[in-house]
């Protein structure tokens, strides 16, 4: 079992004969991309992941789609299955080589692991060997599924177990604590349970600072080669008027779609646009991190039910000092300011959205950048239907397609059915 503060025990490329340099072998989840690592001396075989994957959809050499390659699942000298890309001819020395694809499969269901709870369980149980049962994360799994939260990304560096798990949580607006029932919870904005205790007395304090305020948030997502390929910017105009503009950038390397980035940004903004009282309370009640407490204390300016974010327990006195964060004021109206215009690189089909005069022009592209031509495109929420042209463009009247989040159902000429989320500003 690996302690939470210890590096995640990723295998190293030194396990193979033909390795180029000592590097951790990545684990990949959901729709993601990442560098290929040399596997054999002749430089025709490169490793993408330290496990079987659902598929590899594109190989990019020096920024251009590579032609002749195939995916293979092989067993290495230690008996471990790997996902390789095999080239007909070795790529030139010194070029950058990366692949886009779909990562690890659930060992029980065989499905692509995209629910954050499944990915975190795999990290804790199967990579770190901590014996975490899947059921321990079941509430978080349900909460993520209900919010339609999906992740994709890679573990390529042997950071600490805690740091990897918290990185996934931070990307989607969630918290992790080993003392927390269920380990993870969506925050801000998760569904809160009934209060375990009401705290009306005892030593208390409250602090609020301008440094915690953020009323203009940009969520960066769709990371490839350590750089974001997409972003959404949201603001809370009423709170900008009240406190001045307070911009903040949220890096969400595990978020792969604008839809999830929008959801994460909206939840964070609804919390952070408002002044956040950081409250400390002392109690002898048996409560843990993640439990909800009703705060109704004369020193504290806010009354309400809030989850415990931290706890320091003193066994001698039986007293716990709790940390709670409570926003002041009304939940803000959130406005989408801007969405990155580039297509989402990690979708198998991406959509660029532009408004031209009175039209919404949506350009559909495949993962390799070629247009999705002659496809039937319907906007699920609005019932609008159109056919894409040879350049992959479909046009809808702006008056029928207001700003908001929509899902395109795309049926290609080949009969493939694709689901493409878009945001209209």
């Amino acid at each position: 079992m690996t302690a939470l503060g210890m590096p995640l025990p990723l295998r190293q490329t030194t396990a193979w004969g033909g390795y180029r340099e000592a590097r951790p072998i990545p684990h990949r989840y959901g729709a993601c991309s990442g560098e290929l690592l040399q596997y054999n001396d002749s430089r025709t075989e490169f490793c993408w992941a330290d496990h079987p994957v659902q598929g590899i959809d594109a190989v990019i050499v020096n920024g251009q789609p590579a032609g002749e390659w195939e995916r293979r699942t092989v067993t290495d000298v230690t008996g471990r299955p790997l996902s390789l890309v095999v080239f007909g001819q070795p790529p030139d020395e010194g070029v950058s080589i990366l692949a886009r694809g779909r990562g690890k499969l659930h060992p029980v269901t065989g499905a692509l692991m995209t629910n954050p709870a499944d990915v975190i369980w795999d990290v804790l149980a199967n990579i770190a060997g901590r014996g975490t049962p899947p059921s321990e994360l079941s509430e978080f799994r349900v909460a993520c599924a209900r919010a339609n939260l999906e992740v994709g990304g890679s573990i390529e560096v042997a950071d600490s177990v805690q740091s990897v798990v918290r990185g996934i949580c931070t990307s989607i607006g969630a918290t992790f604590c080993s003392d927390q029932e269920g380990l993870c919870r969506l925050w801000p904005g998760g569904v809160d349970a009934a209060p375990r205790a009401t705290i009306r007395d005892g030593t208390a304090g409250a602090t609020v600072t301008l440094d915690d305020l953020a009323n203009d948030i940009t969520v960066q997502f769709g990371y490839e080669d350590a750089s974001p390929r997409g972003s959404v910017q949201l603001e809370a105009p009423d709170y900008i008027a009240l406190h001045g503009r307070r911009p903040s950038v949220v890096e969400a390397p595990w978020v792969t779609s604008a839809r999830v980035a929008f959801d994460v940004g909206q939840r964070i903004l609804r919390q952070r646009a408002r002044p956040q009282w950081r409250i400390t309370l002392q109690t002898k009640r048996a409560v843990r991190v993640g439990h909800v407490v009703q705060v109704d204390h004369p020193v504290v300016p806010i009354v309400g039910a809030y989850p415990i974010m931290s706890r320091s327990y003193e066994p001698v006195t039986g007293t716990a000092t709790l940390g709670v964060t409570a926003p002041a004021g009304e939940i803000p109206v959130v406005r989408l300011v801007r969405q990155s215009s580039a297509y989402d690189p990690l979708q198998y089909t991406g959509a660029g959205v532009a408004t031209s005069g009175t039209d919404r022009v949506i350009t559909l592209t495949n993962a390799d950048g070629t247009p999705v031509a002659d496809a039937r495109v319907s906007v699920r929420e609005l019932g609008l239907v159109a056919q894409s042209d040879a350049a992959g463009r479909v046009v809808f009247p702006a008056i029928q397609m207001p700003a908001g989040s929509f899902t395109l159902d795309v049926t290609t000429l080949a009969g493939d059915v694709l689901e493409v989320p878009i945001l209209i500003v």
Binding site: T203, A204, A206, V208, L210, L213, P275, V299, P301, A328
Partner: protein
């Protein structure tokens, strides 16, 4: 006599004792809660000039006044009619005895 004035809706004036009443602006909310004002820090290498102000909170007066904290609001310290500090409210801390406001320029 020193007075803390925080702009907002409503604007509020905080003072220490009745001898400051003559320095207060009429028609603006006034609260006899000012306990102390720390040194006013300034210098060429400081990003912000800053000062800490203590208000009484023994009866939770500030808890009630600052339920919606005036973060970012313009704040001035006026001594005998002269402004000695002008900035914004950066943070507010409350406990059972005092409320501390840190102001920054």
């Amino acid at each position: 006599m020193i007075v803390l004035r925080i702009e907002g809706n409503p604007t509020r004036q905080f003072y220490g004792n009745a001898s400051a009443l003559a320095d207060l602006e009429a028609g603006v909310a006034r609260h006899e809660l000012l306990v102390g004002v720390g040194p006013i820090h300034s210098g060429t290498e400081n990003v912000d000039n800053r000062v800490s102000v203590q208000l009484r909170n023994r009866n939770n007066e500030c808890t009630k006044l600052f339920a919606l904290p005036p973060l970012g609001a313009k704040a001035q310290l006026v001594e005998n009619g002269v402004t000695v500090f002008c900035g914004i409210v950066h943070d507010v801390s409350l406990d059972a005895d005092v409320c501390v406001l840190n102001l920054t320029s």
